[in-house]
């Protein structure tokens, strides 16, 4: 009988970590300035140096790689959690409207901030507020007999998404030109503004969210059987779901506040991993974190090097890479799959 052992978990983590390190290395030596891989590695080993090479490696590529890794991991783990909570492999922060809520919060501050007297620096905070507010709203709207039904949660999410999109478009319409370009980049998902302090914010919430998800990974397995079965198998369902939703919306809020609406990471990474590793969340959660990070690092490397000195938004890459891949996988596995 196959079952999870510490050895198997270790092997999977090691392999995932290896993939992440390779992707980070590719990202480190690739970029529009055309410095050689050797020079880039040399600059990495001498952080105290100054000059353009040190700036490019230490103050441009490294913060951006770390931010991409943090955002990718956050979105992938959030996807795994939402899929288990809603027992739907197609659930995702975007479908639920949590990303949309975060974006609406952030964009409100970008557009209205000068009128109500707060700077653009408050955008990340507003994004957290938006994500948590959306989650609370979903919970409040969908609660029946003190429990949350997945169907109602999804439906409420769909409706809220429509509301958030309308709000974002409304704000974009009243915004000026420069703010318009910023909103556009938020909507498509973009990491070009990477700064170390952003990485720290994302990292802190990732650590919290990942810690919660790992410690409740067994509970996520039970939730896949349904709330009732999970309760009958000894899980404090409502309490753990609340903790999971809170942790997830914090991760999503942090990720959206620095990168905007990067799509597909939370959907595609857990899907791929489930096909390779199976659905056990004790494997899936940590592997999604590592490979979600690797995936977004790779996509962002493409985004910043494909057009030379001109930038592409990373969200366009993830959607272009993720969409077709997702369809192919869905099709190839439809015969032995889990029609849910």
């Amino acid at each position: 009988m196959k079952h999870l052992t510490a050895g198997r978990l270790g092997a999977v983590l090691l392999a995932s970590l290896g993939v992440l390190v390779v992707c980070l290395a590719i990202g480190l030596v690739t970029g529009p300035s055309g410095i050689s891989p050797g020079a880039a590695l040399d600059a990495l080993l001498h952080p105290a140096e100054s000059g353009a090479l040190a700036d490019i490696v230490w103050r441009i590529r490294v913060p951006r790689l770390l931010l991409a890794a943090g955002v990718g991991a956050s979105l992938a783990v959030a996807g795994v959690i939402f899929q288990a909570l809603l027992r739907n492999p197609l659930a995702d922060p975007f479908i639920l409207g949590v990303s949309g809520g975060a974006a609406l919060g952030g964009i409100s501050v970008l557009v209205l901030g000068t009128w109500i007297g707060v700077g653009a620096g408050a955008a990340p905070l507003a994004a957290f507020a938006g994500a948590i507010g959306t989650t609370l709203l979903l919970y409040g709207m969908a609660a029946v007999r003190g429990r949350v039904s997945a169907t109602q949660l999804l439906l409420t999410g769909v409706v809220f998404n429509a509301f958030a999109s309308a709000g974002i478009v409304f704000l974009a319409s009243i915004a000026g030109l420069a703010d318009g370009s910023r909103i556009f980049l938020w909507l498509i998902g973009n990491l070009s503004a990477a700064r170390t302090d952003m990485g720290i914010v994302v990292g802190v919430f990732l650590v919290v969210g990942l810690g919660v998800a790992l410690s409740l990974a067994r509970g996520l397995n039970l939730l896949a059987l349904g709330d009732e079965a999970a309760a009958q198998l000894g899980m404090a369902v409502e309490r753990q779901k609340k903790i999971l939703l809170l942790a997830t919306s914090l991760m999503v809020g942090a990720a959206v506040s620095v990168s905007g609406l990067v799509g597909f990471v939370g959907l595609i990474v857990p899907h791929l991993l489930r096909l390779v590793l199976g659905p056990d969340h004790r494997l899936l959660v940590p592997a999604s974190a590592l490979l979600g990070a690797a995936f977004l690092v790779l996509c962002d490397t493409l985004a910043r090097s494909l057009l030379g000195g001109r930038e592409l938004p990373v969200g366009a890459i993830t959607a272009l890479v993720g969409g077709p891949l997702f369809l192919v996988l869905l099709r190839r596995n439809s015969d032995r799959s889990f029609t849910a």
């Binding site: 079952h3 000894g234 199976g278």
Partner: protein, 265 residues
């Protein structure tokens, strides 16, 4: 007394699903729960397992209210076999049975060799050890039911609540399930069995409880409950009840006599 329901009532929205139902399960006893579709059998099982709380009355396990138990402790005492298993992800049979060990695990919860042993024994008892590495979505309805029973066995419960566990099973497996339940009860556990197979229930259960419109309509030994007039009044069909070679009642439904049936109160 292992499990006690005292004068419980349950409302769902406007509808009263259960009213003033009392039930006691003693160690070493199997009680059969009978009734039409929608009579409140599954709701009663949810109250008995602590999944739902009653609107009135008490549910006690070993004298303590279920709501006082931590969930994991309760899951070590009471196991539920639901009607069916729907998993949106392709878990393996072995993984689902091992989830029955969940109440005994902490944190990340790598399975101990004892957990593996329990799960393996449970699979073996249900005769599905060969399915251990198959994916749940590949199984038939009957195989899924066997998996659910194996999962409940892996919980090593003191009290087993089964909701129509044999509905999709062939006769061989029905008999095996009931034998397993009897074995478990013989070792001191108790069981509550929801079933529509009256003759089989008569052979497995010490006592039967007939539920109609959320109330107890009849209760007692199989021979006292399974009587033609009770069946017609409560379950709404005509049958001849004869005594089988084992001295227990056999229910032989009469086809084509629906017209004479009137619904009981």
């Amino acid at each position: 007394m292992s499990l006690q329901l005292r004068n419980v009532a349950l409302r769902l929205g406007e509808q009263t699903v259960l009213r003033d139902v009392s039930l006691e399960l003693a160690p070493g006893e199997v009680v059969g729960l009978l009734g039409r579709n929608g009579a409140g059998k599954t709701s009663l099982l949810r109250l008995a397992s602590g999944t739902w709380l009653p609107d009135a009355g008490d549910v006690l396990f070993e004298g303590r209210a279920l709501s006082d138990f931590p969930r994991s402790l309760l899951a070590q005492k009471i196991a539920v076999v639901p009607q069916d298993l729907h998993v949106p992800f392709p878990f393996r049979v072995g993984e689902v049975v091992l989830m029955g060990r969940g109440p005994y695990q902490r944190w990340l919860g790598f399975e101990s060799s004892h957990d593996i042993e329990c799960a393996q024994r449970a699979l073996e008892r249900m005769g599905i050890l060969h399915l251990a590495d198959r994916r749940i979505p590949e199984l038939s309805g009957g195989e899924r039911q066997l998996v659910l029973i194996a999962r409940a066995l892996a919980q090593e419960p003191d009290c087993l609540l089964l909701d129509e566990p044999t509905a999709f099973l062939d006769l061989e497996h029905r008999i095996r399930v009931l034998e397993v339940v009897r074995e478990l009860v013989a070792s001191g556990a108790s069981a509550l069995l929801v079933s529509h197979d009256l003759s089989l229930a008569a052979r497995c259960c010490e006592r039967l409880l007939l539920l109609a419109d959320g109330r107890v309509a009849a209760e007692g030994a199989p021979g006292e409950v399974l009587r033609a007039d009770t069946l017609r009044r409560v379950l709404g069909f005509s049958a001849t009840v004869i005594e089988g070679p084992d001295g227990l009642p056999l229910v032989v439904p009469e086809l084509g006599r629906k017209d004479s049936v009137e619904r009981g109160a």
